[in-house]
């Protein structure tokens, strides 16, 4: 750990504020204690800091001028470039300047730049539909390199923007990345092909899903609130989506699939462009999106085999909101 605390400046671009709200749930002792413990000094945060108006502006100006060192720049929310490239869809209040221009200027000063959430990583929900505000991420337009800063951007530590994707990301993803930066422990090869930290992106959301037994047998739920696998009919993309979502608990006890609804791959660029989130598109009865790394022929063969081998218990429970059939007694001495 470095001795002096690292200065963190947080900006909310075209955001819902949900990444901050998520981060606030970090730690049994609370976020403030976590920041203190690990040497993170919040220079200014739009939802949390005392400084408002002229005082806040003073901090932004001092950082932009290089007078206050900026160790970590966190940006939450899409960059709204419109209308017509003017950035007027988000003017930083009290400054007469667009958020896009502020982010550009501040990113040039940052030792590390972190995109918190899918919006600042790839564009996210505001870039959905016809993308009315010309929204993009810091270094991506959806899955295409570019964005506000361009593919060539490197923070002064030599890294591209670190994309802590997720809508909203798990508080642990954000916090663990920030703390790893205090230890200078994130290098280029700790990021995946979309510059997402591999500490969460090397897993699939499917890993650890509580519905795994239903998945194994392709015992599927046909309506929401049933206990079966959500992949075949209800749109679940957990077998394709990056994230250790089901290896952690969210808010003390939940995950999306555990709560009975489908994974919408919110850590992926372009998740906002999907249609019918809660239905699985099929061609010839086969789901269009097969599990990552899974050859199609094998999927077809294994699915057919496992369906035919599905135990009655699994079959019945898949179609019910509560467990209908408990596991059999089994051998008393395993």
């Amino acid at each position: 750990m470095t001795d002096a605390p690292l200065n963190v400046l947080w900006l909310q671009a075209g955001s819902c504020g949900g990444c901050t709200m998520s981060l606030l749930s970090e730690g049994a002792e609370g976020l403030a204690a976590g920041f203190e413990t690990f040497g993170l000094n919040l220079l200014w945060h739009p939802a949390l800091s005392l400084e408002s108006g002229d005082e806040a502006l003073g901090i932004l100006k001092s950082v932009a001028a290089g007078e206050t060192p900026l160790d970590i720049l966190c940006v939450e929310g899409s960059i709204l470039r419109g209308p017509g490239g003017s950035g007027k869809f988000q003017m930083v209040s009290g400054t007469g300047r667009s958020m896009a221009s502020w982010v550009k200027e501040l990113a040039a000063q940052a030792r590390y730049a972190v995109a918190v959430g899918t919006c600042s990583s790839f564009g996210g929900i505001p870039s959905g539909g016809a993308n009315p505000t010309d929204a993009c991420g810091l270094m991506y337009n959806g899955d295409r390199p570019g964005g506000l800063l361009g593919d060539g951007y490197r923070s002064t530590a030599g890294l591209p923007v670190i994309n802590v994707a997720g809508c909203a990301p798990h508080p642990g993803w954000i916090f663990e990345v920030l703390v790893s930066l205090t230890r200078d422990e994130i290098a280029a090869d700790d990021l995946d092909f979309f510059a997402r930290p591999r500490l969460f992106a090397d897993h699939l959301a499917h890993h650890g899903c509580a519905r795994n037994e239903f998945y194994e047998y392709k015992a599927s739920a046909s309506k929401l609130s049933e206990r079966g696998c959500l992949m075949e009919k209800l749109g679940c993309k957990a077998t394709q989506a990056s994230g250790d979502c089901n290896l952690r608990v969210w808010n003390g006890g939940g995950t999306c699939t555990d709560a009975g609804y489908t994974c919408i791959a919110c850590t992926s660029p372009g998740f906002e462009k999907a249609k019918n989130y809660q239905e699985t598109p099929t061609i010839g009865g086969l789901p269009v999106g097969l599990p990552v790394d899974m050859p199609k022929a094998w999927f077809v063969a294994l699915a057919a085999l496992s369906k035919s081998a599905t135990p009655e218990r699994v079959k019945q429970n898949a179609r019910a909101p509560h467990i209908k059939v408990p596991p059999a007694k089994g051998r008393s001495k395993p």
């Binding site: 403030a32 739009p46 939802a47 209308p83 609130s225």
Partner: protein
Amino acid sequence: MTRLIVGPFNRVEGDLEVTLETAEGQVTGARVNAPMYRGFEQILEGKTPGDALVIAPRICGICSVSQSVAASRALADAMGLVPAPNGRLAANLVSAAENLSDHLSHFYLFFMPDFTRDIYGDRSWYEEAVQRFAAVKGAASKDFLPARNRLLHVVGILAGKWPHSLAIQPGGTTKAVDQGERVRLLAVLSETRRFLERVVFGDDLETVLALETPEALTAWSEEKPHSDFSRFLAMSRDLRLSELGKTPGRLMSYGAYPDEGALWLSGGLWEGGAVKSLDLNEVSEDPASAWLSGGVGHPFDSDTLPDAEKDGAYSWCKAPRLQGGVVEVGALARQAIAGNALAQKLLHEDGSTVHGRVVARLIEAARLIVQMGRWVDEFRLKDEFCVHGEMPDEVQALGTTEAARGSLGHWMVLKGGVIHRYQIVAPTTWNFSPRDASGTPGPLEQALVGAPVREGEASPVAVQHIVRSFDPCMVCTVH
């Protein structure tokens, strides 16, 4: 006359700029600008109706569940679907957990830090305020954040995660609760209740909820000064916050939390000191001062289309009006309209002020935790949590709820099986609206007039108290 532009105006959940005209030490006019536009209503057009459950909640990371509830109700209204009773209870609980968390987040993280400003260095309570309520590092936020995390386990158990869940559906919720989960919910609620009694109120909730007049509240807080609520009440008396930030006092609530057959908190219009019935056909939105095209209209008949160069506009926010007039929304409105005696007496004695808004929020917090326990008990664990319906191709439908900071409505029109129009009017759209075509300022713009401005203040502290007393959510305001 002097002109002051206050921004970046923080701790308001999003972007806000306030332009003040001041003369002789007070505000003489105000213009409120919501300077960020993302175009959610445009993004929703052409989508499958059910996709509103994915997109609409992402308008807001702090009212996410409220947006989810409003969207699910619009879809249920379209299908003529009544949610399963268990699903109704679960949605109430998730929504109540968010609202309670938001009320306390507002109090501890957004509102109270302003009392730690240097300008109050001469007040008797200043040192304690700094120790307790300093932004981020104060002792109170260190007490509160773990309690908030624990409270949000209600959402983890019932809806997977917060913010942005898909658990709340038109016919109920996707998660069927089992016996163990019921006990876990009760454990979270009892811990949250102890936090409220130990730290926030310093007394039994029953005692607090029995305080029915402003005088009784004052007497209680002087007798029991060592809670955060009493600390606020002492500062409020000293700074006369019951005279600050007055709106015209016409208040609205859609009502919230469906119980069997009726809403737990009934809705209506507070006008002339009495509760009247509310007709949502009389809601209109006026884009006169917004960088948006079009004219005045009901949300079923209006669009939201940007016009960044529009003359005379100064915000991305439309001006919603009821029967053509300004209304204020929020916890004070909700509690007074639902019949809470203390909220009604505060309005009768002072009108709607900074003091009353904060008091009503904390009283509602106490009421919520008690009511949540009842809802958990009402689950019939062997029954279903979600029912299903058929979506018509052509229909117009309305979903309403109360977010922590006030009334939220989703007006949806389907054509050819897809969303043709989706108009959202959020709580702070009402409270922070700009001027309408007749030049009438919005509630905050009116509340700011008369606010004191001390010598040399660039971001006047009284203005900050007033703005934050509404618990604004700017990301909902313009979406």
